[in-house]
Symmetry: C2
Subunit: 380 residues, 2 copies
């Protein structure tokens, strides 16, 4: 399967303030996005891809001169791929608060002339969706053929069907949950504490101190990585394999390959990810809870949704387990919505949503084929 | 059920060097221990209790004038309790490298006159068992009626049956594993990195700098706590309960009760636990792997054991799952050993081994009743 080839990021500036759930508002902001494929004349084939924690608008393809710069969902999105850019006009958009281009903590706060840092307002899934809807307005897209996302991206996809029911025909939510469990929040909180208590954090204004709280970011990333992988796949990949032939009997040196892997991932992450963004995004995860506004009744919360749904979960995902997806399926069925649900028996844990398991991709392909057929039907 | 009442720690100094698995040796050392009950004239009713990560020799009873100082297994050990101090002479011993009395990193290194700090040698489960055996020598106890421990304590109990098969009649190993999985090691490694990269760690010589790496200890404790509790019990205890009536929309303030709980536990722990001890004990966990010395064949490793065994696991323990206990049971059955095994359906996760679930305590009580009956039988 070929990639879509070279792509380039676009950006759009918005001068109308964005009211946020917190009560604050963003005076003005820029969204960075990419598009792949061609928008039909009737503008009916647009698909929005929402990203998770450390991804971005760069969903598919590569940047010219950077052959290793594949988008994070390049295996799923492209010509002839499950989300086929020969049929759909695909939009990837970077969320507010990110460190990959859209307005975020590293940008200048127009009120102070200094980087926002910790003063960047807390953003929620709902705020992101609102901002995304304005991008669609600007692109002249009234209704999405589908919105799709995995993990935190799946939460945005769900929220689209609640905030703008008339603007989404299909919602594809992969490896997601209707809210975080106490354990999920606990892992986020440890990661945040590691960052916030790093002396280089400087209350979130580390840019002004020419510092980066890398120690905290490293620990945060290590915790994240453990929860993204299943126990089994970690065992299979690393087990108790040693790095050297003999034990070194040291508490600080690397003994086991799993330690080496985690430290490598942590170092890499701390080089490119922004600490304030990490705090913001984990908080957006914590806060998402559509049922919370309906006394915990998810079915009541989902009753406003009119889209058709595909939910996908992975058997070994212990971060957002299949049981969490089934809660969403049940809430939709209670509302007699059109729901497809696939529970994929995959060994990789939460990370499976980024991998190209053939059963998983087969389900997504079939679902988008159905959407394409509906689009054809509507036209003839 | 009454407690055993007031107890007092004892200590014993050893001048014979202790050879360690690492090749290093401890020139001299002190073990702090407690005993409860009365040693029979034939010295056949001794039971050694091995402790896990943040526990100590103080297994049962309270210290005079400190009514809240119950030992960590006070619900299991005492007069009329499952491990009945009216029948057994129970010994709790603090392991080398600990921060609760036995020789450890906070003590003075006789070679330098300064605190050991990071220079305290790496100790293993096998080293602890060897040191414990010397304490028994000094107490004139040739053979234990039983050795018992939970988690890391269970590993020591297992190791007793391999290192000193002739000195243990029964082994009671609760919520334990034959070695750590890659995921277990990964969690330990994140905790260690949090400590080691805390600027107050000073390469492990923080005492000399009059500092304590509390930030790292806090993060380590939070990670630990998450893995001790089951997802379900965390959900039941805390769920998504907020601390205040309204969301505060903050990345750094506490919003959810689970955050408040974790921070409280973390603060408490960082006040009393030593960072170097944390590194040493998690490494002892990492290294324990009796099968590793036999090409991964646990049955071969366990073939030297002659004790009778009780294994107990808890259904929701995802740190040391029932499957890990069953590996031990199978290895013992492959050797035609006398094994009892109870898988307790308890909601609390790994922490269940410290709680007084009646089915769990019933099993332990029945097993020690059997040992007491054997002892009676041997006498008549």
């Amino acid at each position: 399967m070929t990639s879509i080839g070279h792509v380039a990021p676009l950006s759009m500036r918005f001068d109308q303030p964005l009211p946020l759930r917190s009560g604050a508002s963003l005076r003005d902001y820029t969204l960075v996005y990419e598009t792949y494929g061609t928008l039909d004349a009737d503008r009916g084939n647009a698909v929005l891809v929402c990203h998770a924690l450390n991804a971005s608008h760069h969903v598919a393809g590569t940047y010219e001169g950077q052959p290793k710069s594949e988008g994070w969902w390049d295996n799923l999105v492209g010509p002839g791929k499950p989300l086929d850019t020969d049929k759909f006009f695909v939009i990837g958009v970077n969320n507010l608060g990110s460190c990959f281009g859209s307005t975020g903590p590293m940008h200048v706060n127009p009120s102070t002339g200094q980087p926002y840092g910790a003063d960047f307002p807390v953003v929620t899934v709902e705020d992101w969706v609102l901002a995304q809807s304005r991008l669609l307005d600007a692109l002249g897209i009234e209704q999405l053929a589908a919105v799709i996302g995995g993990s935190l991206g799946g939460m945005q996809a769900l929220s689209w069907t609640l905030q703008f029911p008339g603007r989404v025909r299909h919602c594809v939510a992969v490896a997601t949950a209707p809210n975080l469990s106490a354990q999920n929040i606990a892992f986020n909180e440890v990661a945040r504490r590691a960052i916030v208590t790093d002396p280089d954090f400087h209350g979130g204004h580390y840019q002004a101190h020419d510092a980066i709280p890398k120690r905290g970011l490293r620990v945060a990333r290590m915790i994240g990585h453990i929860t993204y992988l299943s126990d089994d796949v970690m065992e299979e990949k690393f087990g108790r394999e040693l790095r050297a032939a003999e034990l070194g009997y040291s508490t600080q040196d690397i003994e086991f390959q799993i330690e080496s892997y985690l430290r490598y991932q942590a170092d890499k992450f701390s080089e490119y990810f922004d600490a304030n963004t990490y705090l913001l995004i984990t908080r957006a995860l914590d806060y998402f809870d559509p049922a919370g506004q309906h006394g915990g009744d998810l079915a009541r919360a989902m009753s406003v949704a009119t889209a058709k749904f595909l939910l996908v979960s992975f058997s070994t995902d212990w971060r957002f387990s299949p049981a969490r997806s089934r809660e969403i399926v049940k809430a939709l069925l209670d509302n007699r919505r059109d729901v497809s649900y696939a529970e994929i028996d995959a060994p990789h844990g939460h990370d499976a949503f980024l991998l190209d398991d053939p059963r998983y991709h087969g389900v997504v392909r079939a679902y988008f084929d159905r959407i394409a057929a509906e689009n054809e039907g509507a036209r003839t």
